[in-house]
């Protein structure tokens, strides 16, 4: 089987979930509790986007990714901008892996 088929199947699955909310108009007439929930959703999404991936991506060195995001977080707490904390986290994780 050509690898093109699973690649396009995967694309189809991704496109379906992305297009759905733009065409399902019932999503616009939500009761207040759900509307409030939708505002919290981006914050709630951040937790599982970070954990447990940042730990299990570094088998045997579980602290390497944590050290990287800790440095990013400390920097971001004091200053705006994303580029510097992201680059600092790469350097930190690299150092943690090399130790």
């Amino acid at each position: 089987m050509s690898p093109m088929i699973p690649i396009l199947i995967s694309s189809l699955a991704t496109i379906i979930v992305r297009l759905l909310p733009y065409y399902a108009t019932w999503l616009e007439k939500l009761p207040p509790f759900l509307a409030k929930s939708l505002r919290l959703l981006p914050i709630a999404a951040l937790g599982p986007l970070i954990f447990p991936g940042v730990i299990i991506d570094y088998p045997g060195r579980w602290w390497a990714g944590l050290a990287g995001i800790a440095v990013a977080s400390l920097f971001a707490w004091r200053k705006n901008g994303m580029v510097i904390p992201v680059l600092l986290s790469i350097v930190t994780t690299w150092a943690a892996l090399a130790l």
Binding site: M4, R18, L40, G47, L49, V86
Partner: protein, 232 residues
Amino acid sequence: MARTLTFKQGFHDGLPIFIGYFPTALAFGLVCRDLGLRAWHAILFSVTNFAGSGQFLAASLMGSGALLAELFISVLLINMRYVFMGAELSRKLDPAIRGWQRPFIAFGTTDEVFSVAVLNGEMLTASYLFGLEGTSYLGWVGGTATGFLIGMILPSLLQLAVGVTLYALFTVLLTQQVRQKGVKALAIAALSGGLHTLLSTRLAVPVGWSFVISMLTATFVGAALIDEEAGL
């Protein structure tokens, strides 16, 4: 009068995402090479999917010889969060956005694009979103191609270390939320992250489901406990 978001602003906001995506996509290019795919397969993957976790999942399922139906359902589930993200994002769109522009905006909605666009708090114009999504897309597709072509010469430790970039990006977004909205934002993210860790690693819940369950639980718990005056 509220500030109107421009293409330039979108490009500016998209740059950190470009920088975050490039090395992650580089890692994806490496995975494709390991799977025995050709360069154009790897690029086709990123051009047609534009989804980090979904692509890594699909690639690993391809490697393990999974059935097409299994691949379809798993990718659908791991990307299920886009339904909720898209629902929220589409509420903030400029009403002037035309019908033909919507599918493109929808296709370009990734976790990072969503977070940056929605947390920015203004009405989202088509130019802004095309700037933001286009910059991110270039980082993703360009990174994949570069990873496939030059990945061989990158030291393996550095390859592992660049994997932290996406987590760092999310952490910075979370830190900014906690700074603006207080410790309740951290509590919501900690609840969802903790649940996802528990469900996916201890209770063997499939990753796609676990993600959706954790995200929705923390959202509803947060919405039930926090009142509007808290500013969240």
